[in-house]
Amino acid sequence: MYYLKFHTKKLIYLSELTDLKIDFAELEEQKRRNFRERLKFIDWYAEWLKKTPNEVWSKAQNAVVEQFPKYPASRRKSAAIKTKKS
């Protein structure tokens, strides 16, 4: 019964999607507006950087840059040793 309900809901959802009338001109304008907003942010941020001490802005930036979780150093080291042996 759940299987039937789930797939019926999925079919209804899909048909609702295809009924939507996309205004591509509106979407394009939204895309352009978004890009303009991003350029304004670049300008604001560059001005903030120029008047902010290096230790302050670099700490803030590192929160963005340090996105990738580190594999534990000990596991990386053992992988390096395996490669050397092979």
Partner: protein
Amino acid sequence: MEFTFTEKSITLDKELNSLDRFTISFCKKLDKHKVKYCLVSGYVAIVFGRSRATEDVDMLVEKMPFEQFAELWKEIRTELDCMNAFSEKEAYEMLCDGCGLRFHEFNQPLPNMEFKFIKTITDKYTVENSLELRLNKHILKISPLEIQIAFKLYLGSEKDIEDARHLYKIFKDNLNMSKLSNSFVLLKVPHEKVDLLERIN
């Protein structure tokens, strides 16, 4: 932002992140083997504060004989894995074919260093005229900013335009405007893209 800018170098002291340390460590290996290189693209904007992450650091390297590459490969492979080549011979052939090698810490594919031989005339110009970045007393070679900005505009994606604008806004008072204009002409960057360095609409 405090930095010292000369025609040949930029000195910057800041809190380093793991991307900086990865890049510094890799470049030290090239220096040890006297390999001429230049860091380009996203990292150049990020090291000067651009607020985004990157999966890779792009590097152009002067073509070297196989024997020299094999020594460098051995050194790199003691600490880093190569995503797309498994022997120095295969790696060298790929480089000569114009493909990039991707080096990364073991079991840590991100970030990775994309290592490519010089191919085009702009690659050659970039490496030969590289700027010295003194980053917390480490020396890195980076692309001249004028050609970097022009190339980013040439590439033209929104991210690239934002990178170009960031570098332009930070270094506007230091750039050689005549070199910048020449770079636009060299890369045939259209006026409407050059305008995006200043205007919003």
